[in-house]
């Protein structure tokens, strides 16, 4: 193994000492070593743009730039560019226009827009943004307004008028997002931007099979890697520790059987992300492949292998008609349907299908947990439903809810995918 080399990179006008091996990207170095977390890791494939930085004044993808190859180049990130007047004008325009939602890729957009303005200043017509209500109004002035303000009547009727005026000026007017400034400056913190002292990093060995029985684990190679602190398998979980939004059908780690490609099977905690990933890759799981049903029709066929044989015994939030591989049955009627058929000139009957869609937010899932000396856990995670996370983690790990405090930092979108507690991993 080649040892990382110590190099000096010029980041935001400052010479920074970093260490990098040949395959370490600029993104990894500026985020993990310099803690400049405004540059985001999204796809890690150069497509999403959340990691865009300037290299010698030109925008590049920092996830595709090798750190060692950035020696002798000047690198500017959102943190450094925020001092530039053109960037500040852009940031104010972004805030005024509400030009972000989750804000995860906003730093990347701003760096790209900054480059466009540098190269083609004439291509953009500057327009004074419509002043959003409350924008850049100092807090003490807002409070003054609420109190009735200096020189205004402070009796009951006057105060009422003032409140109406304030409401009247907000309704129908654009209001800047509260978190605008942190999102345009790159200081908004998403799950991967959070650090705790001496924290370990996790990685998950995922199922390569759609349906298989777990015959055993060989963890010896992974355990032998220096820096590996803990390895957890489904054997460490109680059988009744099941979670699920509507049907409690899943263990935190597969127990005895895997039911989809990518199902978490073994979890590793280690000193660094690299070691954790190497350990996860070194885990050997012996599987016995079982027959699969890869379409709804195949799964409903009488001879299909039943994926959840114990489904009848699972706890269900409400009964959806679960039977065999059928998870849920929905039928509804509205109005007099028979009359509707009779009144129809023509009747078309067909079988309609729609394609599945993956809700692919640019920010992957992730979680960070801290356990205090009394065994109380604080759990930060990228999620859309913090109390459901608390319930499901409690159920699946056998932790009383009273010992589990769940928090949500900024999240880089979810589209429904972050409703349940899960972590995801790319290679």
């Amino acid at each position: 193994m080649t040892k990382p080399s110590a190099i000096e990179l010029e980041i935001n006008g400052t010479a920074c000492d970093v260490r990098a091996s040949g395959s370490d990207t600029l993104l990894t170095v500026i985020r993990d070593q310099l803690l400049l977390t405004g540059t985001k890791r999204g796809c890690n494939q150069g497509v999403c743009g959340a990691c865009t930085v300037l290299s010698d004044g030109r925008p590049v993808r920092s996830c595709l730039s090798l750190a060692l190859d950035c020696k002798d180049r000047r690198v500017d990130t959102i943190e450094g560019l925020t001092a530039h007047p053109v960037m500040q004008a852009l940031q104010q325009a972004f805030i005024a226009a509400g030009a972000f939602q989750c804000g995860f890729c906003t730093p990347g957009m701003l760096v790209s827009a900054f480059d466009l303005l540098q190269r083609k200043p004439a291509s953009v017509k500057w327009r004074r943004p419509r002043r959003a209500v409350g924008q850049f109004v100092p807090l003490h002035r807002l409070q003054e307004d609420r109190r009735g303000g200096a020189g205004r009547s402070s009796d009951a009727t006057g105060r009422g008028r003032q409140v109406n005026k304030l409401v009247g000026s907000v309704v129908g007017s654009p209001v800047p997002q509260l978190e605008g400034r942190e999102k345009v400056s790159g200081s908004a913190q998403y799950i991967a931007d959070l650090y705790r002292p001496n924290m370990l990093h996790g990685a998950v060995h995922q199922s390569p099979h759609a349906h298989a029985r777990i015959l055993g684990y060989d963890l010896s190679a992974a355990q032998a890697i220096p820096g590996v602190r803990a390895i957890v398998t489904g054997d460490d979980l109680e059988d009744h520790w099941r979670m699920g939004a509507f049907i409690k059908d899943e263990h935190a780690l597969a127990k005895g059987r895997v039911r989809y490609v990518g199902e978490p099977v073994v979890a590793v905690a280690a000193d660094t992300e690299t070691i954790a990933r190497q350990a996860a890759a070194a885990i050997v799981v012996n599987y016995e492949e079982l027959s699969t049903a890869l379409s709804p029709e195949e799964a409903l066929a009488p001879e299909a292998a039943v994926i959840h044989e114990e489904a009848a015994a699972y706890i269900k939030v409400f009964d959806t008609g679960t039977q065999g591989n059928l998870c849920s049955r929905t039928s509804f009627r509205e109005g007099d349907i028979e009359q509707g058929w009779r009144d129809s000139d023509r009747i078309f009957e067909a079988h309609y299908e729609t394609q599945p869609q993956a809700h692919v937010s640019i920010e992957p899932c992730g979680a960070l947990a801290e356990i205090d000396a009394s065994g109380r856990i604080t759990l930060w995670s990228a999620n859309q439903s913090v109390f459901r996370v608390q319930a499901n983690v409690s159920e699946s790990l056998g932790i009383p809810m009273s010992r589990l405090r769940c928090l949500t930092p900024r999240i880089g979108a979810g589209f429904g995918n972050k409703m349940e507690p899960h972590i995801s991993q790319s290679p």
Binding site: M1, T2, P4, S21, G22, S23, T25, N44, Q45, G46, V47, G49, T52, S55, R58, P59, V60, R61, C63, L64, S65, L66, L68, D69, K71, S112, D115, S220, A221, A222, A224, I225, Q278, A281, A282, S426, P427
Partner: protein
């Protein structure tokens, strides 16, 4: 390898399994081609790298793990565009897509190359990726290979043994496979002196910057000579001397349809998330006639 600790009277020691860590590659930054060739020869399973737009993405995805990386970014002779005395254009292998997209010397029939360069991925990726990397990678979805095949171009290949020139239409051999031998790198792309005329790269993609579902590269010289290549429809771009001869003689709808039939017969596309093989074959005649209609209009405008 587990040592026999008990036999050595050391049973109280934990036996230690030495895990073979995946190698973390070294990166070398040679300043000359000779130095680069020495490094490539000295390191087994090493890969040359320039922009990294494809190779680092593949490394990030865990698809490749080279033992060493030889960066070609600091070799001056590999970068830049130059016009030779004879009027041919030499594009250094490490020239970045954006520099090619805006180069004012790629005009006439060579404009198809700049037009293709301007449609690759995004600005940030065009600031990284290089033309040499693109042709050496030989992904059938890339934009440069068909664009170069629509001109009279050749690939200059260099190794410790010297240099040789491979005509562009013989360079791409199969999926991700080229005429490069082990130890060879792409050092330059040579374009024959562009003829007066026009060039167009028509790309059909799901979103701007994505890989093409189908792309058609065309150059039309003022003397009537047509060169056509189709991308993303098989292991290598589709082009044939017969198609070019037919279209150079006659750009009528009937001949265009016959040329399209020949190209469809050569096509061997795959089904993927961007489109089915059948859809791609359906697009070839439509995009070919649209591209030819557009270059004819551009040619009239220029004249």
């Amino acid at each position: 390898l587990v040592p026999d600790l008990a036999g050595a009277g050391l049973a109280w020691l934990q036996p230690e399994v030495i895990y073979n860590m995946p190698p973390s590659p070294a990166l070398f930054r040679p300043r000359s081609l000779t130095e680069a060739f020495d490094l490539l020869a000295a390191h087994r399973d090493s890969k040359p790298i320039s922009g990294g737009a494809s190779l680092v993405a593949m490394m990030n995805a865990g698809l490749v793990a080279p033992a060493a990386l030889i960066s070609l970014t600091r070799i001056p002779e590999l970068s830049g565009i130059a016009v030779t005395g004879a009027g041919s254009i030499r594009i250094g292998a490490a020239t970045r897509h954006n520099d090619i997209a805006v180069d004012h010397r790629l005009i006439g029939t060579a404009a198809v190359i700049a037009h293709a360069a301007s449609q690759i991925a995004s600005v940030a990726v065009r600031n990284m990726g290089t033309i040499g990397g693109a042709v050496a990678h030989a992904d059938p979805g890339l934009d440069f290979p068909p664009a170069l095949m629509a001109t009279e171009a050749s690939v200059e290949v260099a190794s410790i043994a010297g240099r040789r020139s491979v005509p562009i239409r013989e360079f791409f051999v199969d999926w991700y496979s080229t005429a490069l031998d082990p130890g060879e790198i792409v050092s330059a792309i040579d374009i024959a002196k562009p003829k007066p005329g026009v060039g167009l790269y028509l790309k059909h993609a799901r979103v701007s910057g994505d890989y093409a579902i189908v792309s058609v590269a065309v150059s039309l010289a003022r003397d009537g000579e047509v060169r056509v290549a189709v991308g993303s429809c098989g292991p290598t771009p589709l082009a044939s001397g017969e198609v070019d001869r037919m279209l150079s003689a006659d750009l009528s709808a009937v001949v265009t349809a016959r040329a399209a039939d020949l190209l469809v017969a050569m096509a061997n596309p795959i089904d993927d998330v961007r489109g089915s093989a059948e859809y791609r074959k359906t697009l070839i005649p439509r995009m070919l006639s649209r591209a030819l209609r557009d270059v004819t209009a551009m040619s009239r405008e220029a004249a």
